[in-house]
């Protein structure tokens, strides 16, 4: 009857319940019941997992999502998000019978007003010639002849149309948009050129060489995922066995390895990676090698610690006394016990690797210059910080979101597997 435990919680049975149940069930049920049992924020895991899956899909099939080729010049330089590129447009009076240059097939010359020293006249002539050629090719009659009238300013040009002096005007879309308020009777009849390539806008704008920012972002996900996963897998594959061996063998080998691993662990990882990529030269494989080296100690430390404690467990002692070989003990008894705690840090590790990879390519190390990579895009975009805010905003946002997704997923998994840490 005399009890010696310090038991002041009113209902100790509740705590034990889920802990016992937890040991019996598998992964899926753990995730599903975590909320009910110990209030794990499992929406955390759901949202971040969805984000991770989204990033994975984008990384595997970027061509499905990217509207353009990330390496092609597809538009004018430094076009801001959603902005229409500047083009030469035809300006007609509201009551004009014409719809476009193609309707100008008359015998007389049509007077068209343009501004001096702009490409407008050339654009108008090119289009007129093209339409004429087209008609001739199809065996039809008629041709377009334009009479170009040049004026000093946009106001004079437009006045000429209003007064009837000219039938139409041709001007750049931006110039007309700036002056249009003063000319309610004139309308923008659309692009002069029928080659429509440069009349589309870009959701996230274009960069300094006219590449589509969005397409580069989408293809950048592939690079980020490749780097993150390869580096994390490589350090996993190297770090786990090293930790197992060191923890199991003990002695001098263990001490030496731990000293080396701790030193790498304490050293600023990025600087080590910088040094390694500097020697290896730029390539995606080298960047992966450099990052993998950094994270070997992360796995090593955890696995070694777990191995040390698992070694003391009764079933391992029993196996040893039955004469099981070290390899068997390690593989069959210790390894399976170590895996869960390593698996949950894998996700966070991927996030760290992506962040380090982005840092390396931002510094101009590790990847060939025109690769569609977020770090490189940021580095190249920072020169244009005054004129093009979108170049430095979106790639960074992408890095943050992908890192956030993997980190949150990792933390959620930790919470589900080690509920005792849930308040941490």
């Amino acid at each position: 009857m005399t009890d010696h435990e310090n038991l002041e919680t009113p209902a100790p049975a509740q705590v034990a319940d889920w802990e016992l149940e937890l040991q019996k069930v598998g992964f899926v049920r753990r995730v599903l019941r975590a909320r009910k049992w110990y209030r794990a924020d499992w929406w955390f895991v759901v949202i971040s997992s969805l984000m991770v899956v989204g990033f994975l899909i984008i990384a595997i099939w970027p061509q499905w999502f990217a509207p353009h080729d990330p390496l092609e010049q597809v538009g004018p330089r430094l076009l801001s998000p959603g902005e229409l590129p500047e083009s030469e447009v035809l300006i007609l009076p509201e009551d004009s019978p014409f719809g476009g240059i193609a309707d100008f097939t008359r015998d007389e010359r049509i007077p068209v007003a343009v501004m001096l020293d702009t490409p407008s006249s050339e654009a108008a002539r090119d289009e007129a010639e093209r339409v004429t050629d087209e008609i001739a090719a199809s065996g039809g009659e008629g041709r377009i002849r334009l009479q170009i009238m040049r004026f000093e300013s946009i106001e004079e040009t437009l006045d000429a149309v209003v007064s009837g002096e000219a039938t139409a005007a041709v001007a750049s879309s931006k110039t007309f948009a700036a002056a249009a308020a003063g000319y309610p009777t004139l309308r923008n009849a659309g692009g002069v050129s029928s080659e429509a390539q440069d009349t589309t806008s870009f959701i996230l704008g274009t960069n300094q060489v006219g590449q589509d920012v969005l397409s580069r972002l989408i293809w950048g996900a592939r690079i980020a995922i490749i780097i993150g996963f390869s580096a994390a897998i490589a350090s996993f594959v190297l770090g786990v066995p090293l930790g197992l061996i060191a923890g199991f063998a003990g002695g001098k080998l263990d001490r030496l390895m731990t000293l080396v691993m701790d030193s790498i662990y304490a050293f600023p990882g990025l600087i080590l990676a910088i040094a390694i990529t500097a020697v290896l030269g730029p390539s995606i494989v080298n960047i992966i090698v450099a990052i993998a080296v950094l994270y070997i100690p992360t796995y090593y430390r955890i696995v070694r610690g777990q191995t040390l404690s698992a070694k003391e467990e009764l079933y391992v002692e029993a196996a040893k006394s039955l004469g099981a070989r070290s390899r068997v003990i390690l593989g069959r008894y210790i390894f399976p016990n170590v895996i869960p705690s390593v698996a949950v840090i894998f996700s966070v590790n991927v996030a760290d690797a992506i962040l380090t990879g982005a840092g390396l390519s931002f510094l101009g190390l590790g990847l060939p210059l025109d690769t569609p990579d977020w770090g490189i895009d940021l580095a190249r975009g920072q020169e244009f910080i005054r004129s093009a805010w979108w170049l430095i905003t979106f790639p960074g946002l992408a890095v943050m979101l992908i890192v956030l997704a993997f980190t949150m997923m990792g933390e959620g998994l930790v919470e589900i597997f080690n509920p005792k840490l849930r308040d941490r």
Partner: protein, 342 residues
């Protein structure tokens, strides 16, 4: 709590020797599975100058009761009803700031584990002077230090060790320091929550001697919360036995130990190892303490009770006097119609 029991309690208040009076106190904890009544409608009077032993199994609510007396129940727990009369004031109606002034100054508490109850980063002297100057801002640092030194000396510790850190002391010494902290402002009532559990037997005996001396010297009233019947038998004047958050029995040490009324109390006493008996005679009470989420109906002890009657599972007995000053909540000593229909 039945009417006559409350009336009986009131009569003892009227005698004027009551220092602290608990009236119909309930404390509940919100758990995922529902509300748990850790303390269930408990009434108890603590007389001035006595040492009252509060005993019971782990989880019976005795520590919760101690904390509730200091109004130190923290969420998810809360006091759901009751009054706490101390020196003519109902502590339940007092503001948190006033309550803070009462804690430490007039109500002291000594905790179970002396190893963890002192701030590892503060010197002993700082613990004492901090307590003194918090409650008496007019006292200078030097005067507070003087008082601290006197106190430490009185409790049998070397005065020059006052500048040491807690980790440099043994468990028994630290428990003395905890007492010193409770006495620093001459608290009227000290609630000692399992103060000797972490001490070995010899240190425990010394500590109990010290408590008795201090009571005489400082005119102290002490509530000794413990599961150790031996400790209670040694120092206490009166004993209160708790079961499943409720009062089971209350009386003087002699009454409760020699003439135990409540079957739970009887079981508890027979389960104490005794040198005169040999091990095979040690009594094992049947069953386990109830899960407070599903407290049995009627008397909470009835599933384990060797004298169980039909009424026990149907109606709860009152905590009524059996002989003057000796109370028990058991149908064996209370009149009922036998069938327990109503």
């Amino acid at each position: 709590m039945t009417q006559d029991a409350i009336a009986a309690d009131r009569s003892s208040v009227a005698t004027g020797d009551v220092l602290y009076s608990i009236r119909d106190l309930s404390v509940e904890y919100g758990t995922r599975a529902g509300e748990v009544a850790a303390v269930d409608r408990v009434s108890l009077d603590i007389r001035k100058g006595e040492i009252l032993g509060l005993v019971g199994e782990s989880g019976c609510g005795k520590s919760t009761l101690g904390k509730a007396m200091m109004r130190m129940i923290s969420p998810p727990g809360r006091i759901t009803q009751g009054e706490l009369w101390f020196a003519g004031e109902d502590l339940m109606t007092v503001s948190e700031a006033q309550m803070r002034e009462i804690r430490g100054a007039r109500l002291g508490m000594v905790f179970q584990d002396p190893m963890t109850s002192l701030n590892p980063l503060s010197k002993i002297v700082d613990h004492l002077t901090e307590t003194i100057t918090t409650h008496e801002p007019s006292v200078s640092e030097a005067a507070a230090r003087d008082r601290a030194e006197q106190l430490i000396g009185r409790l049998g510790l070397r005065v020059e060790r006052i500048d040491d850190y807690p980790h440099q002391f043994s468990g028994g010494m630290r428990q003395r320091i905890m007492i010193a902290l409770a006495l620093a402002l001459r608290a009227d009532l000290v609630i000692a929550d399992e103060p000797t559990t972490a001490l070995d037997v010899i240190v425990e005996a010394q500590f109990l001697d010290l408590l008795r001396e201090l009571r005489a010297e400082f005119d102290l009233t002490i509530i000794m919360i413990t599961h150790n019947i031996g400790v209670v038998a040694e120092v206490a004047d009166r004993v209160a036995v708790m079961y499943a958050g409720r009062m089971a029995e209350l009386g003087s040490v002699d009454e409760v130990f020699l003439d135990t009324k409540h079957p739970y109390g009887q079981g508890l006493l027979r389960a104490v190892p005794n040198i005169e008996l040999d091990g095979s005679d040690l009594y094992q009470m049947e069953g386990a303490p109830p899960n407070l989420l599903h407290t049995p109906s009627g008397c909470p002890f009835h599933p384990r009770c060797p004298h169980v009657m039909p009424i026990c599972s149907e109606r709860e007995p009152a905590f009524a006097e059996v002989t003057p000053g000796h109370r028990a909540s058991c149908w064996l000593f209370q009149e009922h119609d036998g069938e327990g229909e109503r």
